[in-house]
């Protein structure tokens, strides 16, 4: 028994996302031999793109699969995710613009670059980078789509 409604929606969304993917690959093509083109989209993302990046960073498989599963299995303890989501924005509002301007001035590409320079510690930088790699599969990141953990713009959106 085929669920035609679900199948149709799936095929349409799959086609649209695939088309957007091919279109995006040609849009503002950068030289991927440069690390800041590969990792930060050439630091050219504006307010709208950044807004979507922040949203897609938050609303991932973690939000849609991990947290509901936790609530289903363990109950209201899973609701820690709601305060976490609420307080991350005032926090980002204070921290991110400063992080952005420092990172831009010194040409840091990743959070690990910043930590290494700021705290003069290779081991701490390694720990930050390693955490980022562990976290990576859960946020489904790919080149040109850095997350809140990357420092990703040339123009400040705020």
């Amino acid at each position: 028994m085929v669920n035609w409604t679900a199948l149709t929606i799936f095929i349409i969304l799959f086609a649209v996302v695939t088309a957007i993917g091919f279109f995006a690959a040609r849009w503002r093509r950068g030289d991927l031999n440069h690390l800041n083109e590969w990792g930060l989209g050439g630091r050219t993302f504006g307010t709208v793109v950044t807004w979507f990046l922040l949203g897609s960073d938050l609303y991932t498989a973690y939000t849609f699969i991990a947290i509901p599963a936790l609530v289903f299995g363990a109950g209201a303890i899973g609701f820690f995710a709601v305060p976490y989501t609420i307080i991350i924005y005032p926090f980002a509002f204070v921290v991110m613009p400063r992080l952005w301007s420092v990172a831009r001035k010194h040409n840091y590409i990743t959070a690990a670059d910043f930590v290494r320079a700021r705290f003069d510690s290779r081991w701490l930088a390694l720990a930050v980078a390693f955490t980022g790699i562990i976290y990576r599969p859960t946020t489904r990141r790919y080149p040109g789509r850095p997350g809140i953990h990357g420092i990703n713009r040339n123009r400040a959106p705020w």
Binding site: A76, F79, V82, P83, T85, I86, I87, Y89, P90, F93, V94, W158
Partner: protein, 71 residues
């Protein structure tokens, strides 16, 4: 005049600080809202209180942004 300006800036910064710290107190002090009553349309207090903070926090951050941008 300049002393008045710095005084204005300092009180503005204090307001921004309160606006940004409020969500932390409102959401992380769990024992203040860990209740069933009063419910809202059958939804226990715990849940609708937290979801209300999503909106409040967004508004507070917006006001903080407007205040810091003018400064």
């Amino acid at each position: 005049m300049s002393t008045n300006d710095t005084k204005n800036n300092r009180s503005r910064r204090a307001i921004v600080l309160v606006l940004l710290v409020a969500p932390f107190i409102g959401t992380l002090w769990v024992s203040t809202y860990n209740h069933v009553a009063p419910d809202f349309a059958g939804i226990p207090f715990f849940y609708w209180y937290l979801f209300l903070w999503v909106l409040i926090s967004a508004v507070l951050t917006l006001v903080a942004y407007l205040l810091t941008r003018r400064a």
